[in-house]
Amino acid sequence: MSSPHSRHEYDAIVVGGGHNGLTHAAYLAKAGLRTLVLEKNDLVGGAAITEELMPGFSFTTFSYALSLLRPEIIHELDLVKHGFLPLMMPSSFHPTGDGDYLLFGDDHAQNLQEVRRHSPRDADAYERYHRDLDRVCQAIRPLFDSPPPNLWGTDPEDAVDVKWLLDHLGGIDRKTMHDTVRLLTGSAQDWLDDYFEHEAIKGYHASSSIIGSKVGPMSPGSGLVLLFHKMGEHDGHLGSWAFHKGGNGGFTQVLARAAQAYGAEIRLAAPVTSVITTDGRAVGVALEDGTEFRAPVVVSALDPRRTFLELVEPRELPLDLVDNVRRMKFRGVSAKVNFALDGLPVFPALKDTVDHYGGFLNIGPTIEYVEKAFDAAKYGWYSEQPFIDGAIQSVVDPDMAPPGKHVMSCFVQYAPYELRGSDWETEREAFGDQAQAVLESHFPGFGDLVLHREVVTPVDIEARTGLTEGNIFAGEFLAPQMYFFRPAPGWSQYATPIDGYYQCGSGTHPGGCVIGSPGKLASQRVLRDLAR
């Protein structure tokens, strides 16, 4: 079949084949655009990849679980047909540091009994807590799932959007609005103190308040991080999580197949160095090897630093935008330590059962423990006793490891991108040892099970995925970097000052995590502009 287009001409080019780039490309291709995805690495997925580091052992090198993926994307892109399979994580396990534990599962009444075992007072608080948080999530979900209105726009549609927002906010009851503001501006500790008395129960709920962010649970702003992670849902359960079959790399392979089925083309090992502009409009991209591809629409799925300061000439951009992007905080503090294990670790109080390994395994017994772990990061060093969000994925997906063996993904915090007086190449194994020692203290004999250990530092995250300073959200979740201001005031609707140049990565609204919204919402913007 002959094409009227040259081999290097497309309707749209997406720079970066992470999950948002792929989602975006799939929507554009579905709408009929001849779409090209250019990925610098040898496989798609960005930070959502699965790699077989030892024969039979699949490692989710970076990102490792699903929750926030918007359910409508699953249907709109027909992902089930391409192998979408989120496996339920039935439990959540939180050692309390004194040999005891909190174990939550799929049965609410049993969870209440588990809370009561530690604190009778916290049982009904637990119910109120979840009800209040659910109401906040319900109230702000429409904001989450649509582009932020442009407060500074001059288009009549901007006024319509602003009115919609004000009407929506006006419809939120007083308590829910107040709770929302408390979460968005306050600390996780302040929020949790209003409900719970038991330190471990607070510690359990605080664990999602620090993920990927340079905050401790006592820092203002940690409430926002907590809320963001609660916005996820899985099979109709707010805030619940799943493992995708084959890890998050399995998920991005599904997205790639969907995009290709709609006609998108994906080129691997194709690093883009710059967006080509003519008379202030994007007309294509150039690869490192000098190859050029042409399209009237170029969309960056990279983070805002790369989108605005590397792919294009900052001189072509308004000064305030450049300033904002330069000031944007990307302070990566997260690392991964992934293990291949010869068998299941043993938690002494739960011998002969595996049910506590069916989901996340939280090592961060109390708020104080996690805050102390954060202290080190403030002064440029990694935590002596880090917070660990572990997951033995092979328990839920046996195909991740050979029969009887296991893989364990550990998200470890805090590990600041910049170390004071040393560097990550020097500290890599010492850091891995420290994480492993913490696991050993909760699971005696853990070290004997380790067949292989992979330490992924923030510097590795940056080098492999391109995420600036290894920040997993492509820009921290801080109030001045969200909604109207993500990635910069006036540029939160996926367009850029350069005609034909758009952004669709996690640095845009609503933000990071494997969520798909930036990719989807940006595609709506591109298609709307093309229709004009």
Binding site: P71, V80, L85, M88, G105, V395
Partner: protein, 399 residues
């Protein structure tokens, strides 16, 4: 009196919920753990075991055994060779379905028939004058379903026959020193096997299967998981999809095999070349086109479902029991044109699906209809489309 199965002593130890239903007067776990969906995923992504022992089991032997069954069963038993099994059904003389079951042919003159409800006297009456023995051997055997993509790998280590056993074939095997029948059968729509074992050997065999399955994260699963699995597989259930034709007071509770979606069993009925109880009535139904219903799958429009709940300020439920079964199906004009008999949220399909009965002229795949439901205590409808069943049929099921 409540019965227990031969596997109960061990399986009850593995059940930390102590939740049982009474399946035909037998204790049957609703779930083993706090998360039935975890059990469900063991079957869709690993391996699970289910105790199907409560099924009635009838040994049918003797020179006229085939004659009896070919005159009683809807599906032509003469095409079932020794070593094969048939999923089948039987009807009353009006051509209404009584029960379904699986018949295992062990030899020319030796069968084992399973049934969801008691059926001995029915077959005994039909056997009058025939050289055939019928025996209720329900308590003599335990039946253990081992289901899921890893079932073959797990079982092959203790019963190598599993490696090559074909779909709906069965073979005698030795497992944990006990003689068993290993069959490639099940009620989950996935790759799977069933083990029929003498009651006294049941626990030993179960232990061997659990040991073999441990490296594959084997889990026992209960009826809640099974219900989702069997609906995804498009498999009907007695007393849910239909009622025993001999026990109903209203013909509206009865269905013919064709109406139940079992038309594929009816080879040789239309031309009268095959006769069994009810076949003449069914032949007239086929020739005259008098079927009242067609069974079809329905799939709910996910956007419409979410919209209905979100607009009511609610979170869209995606639970195993989001609606009572038997919600009415309406056409665009609001006229009742059918009803849903089973309804569930399918985790592998990420959609609500149902087994339904609609007017035959509306059964073509892709017909858009509406399903009645209550949202926020108001009656409303959600968009659905008819779709062929099974909803979920991985290649591994038959390969």
């Amino acid at each position: 009196m409540i019965r227990t199965t031969p596997f109960h002593p061990r399986l009850s130890e593995l059940n930390d919920q102590h939740l049982f239903t009474h399946w035909q007067g037998t204790l049957s776990p609703l779930r083993y753990s706090h998360a039935p969906k975890h059990e469900y995923f063991a079957v869709r992504n690993g391996v699970g075991v289910f105790d199907t022992s409560p099924l009635y089991k009838y040994a049918v032997t003797g020179p006229d055994a085939e004659k009896l069954l070919s005159g009683a069963l809807v599906r032509d038993i003469r095409t079932c060779r020794p070593g094969q099994a048939h999923y089948t059904a039987w009807c009353d003389d009006r051509g209404y379905v009584m029960h379904d079951g699986v018949v295992f042919r062990h030899a020319t003159d030796e069968f084992l028939l399973t049934a969801g409800r008691p059926a001995l006297s029915w077959f005994q009456e039909l056997a009058t004058g025939l050289r055939v023995e019928l025996e209720d051997v329900t308590e003599a055997y335990g039946m253990l379903a081992v289901q899921g993509p890893r079932s073959r790998a797990a079982l092959a280590t203790v019963a190598p026959e599993a490696e090559t056993l074909g779909y709906f074939d069965h073979v005698p095997a030795k497992l944990a020193g006990a003689a068993v029948t290993l069959s490639r059968t099940g009620y989950t729509g996935d790759l799977g096997f069933e083990i029929t074992v003498a009651a006294d050997d049941a626990v030993d065999v179960l232990d061997a299967v659990l040991d073999a399955g441990r490296p594959h994260s084997i889990r026992p699963f209960g009826e809640e998981a099974l219900m989702t699995l069997r609906i995804e597989a498009g498999l009907p259930l007695v007393d849910v999809e239909w009622h025993d034709a001999r026990l109903t007071l209203s013909d509206a509770d009865c269905v013919t095999p064709k109406e139940l979606g079992l038309g594929w069993m009816l080879r040789g009925v239309r031309d009268g070349s095959r006769r069994f109880v009810g076949s003449e009535a069914i032949r007239r139904e086929l020739v005259d086109g008098t079927s009242r219903w067609a069974t079809t799958g329905i799939v709910v429009d996910a956007d419409d479902w979410d919209r209905l709940y979100r607009e009511a300020g609610l979170f869209p439920p995606k639970s195993p029991h989001p609606l009572p079964y038997e919600s009415m199906i309406l056409d665009e004009g609001g006229t009742e044109v059918g009803y849903c008999t089973s309804f569930v949220y399918s985790p592998v399909l990420q959609r609500h699906i149902g087994i339904a009965r609609v007017r035959p002229d509306l059964a073509a795949a892709g017909t858009e209809l509406r399903l009645e439901l209550a949202v926020n205590h108001h009656n409303t409808t959600v968009r659905i489309a008819t779709t062929p069943m099974p909803f979920f049929e991985p290649d591994r099921k038959k390969s």
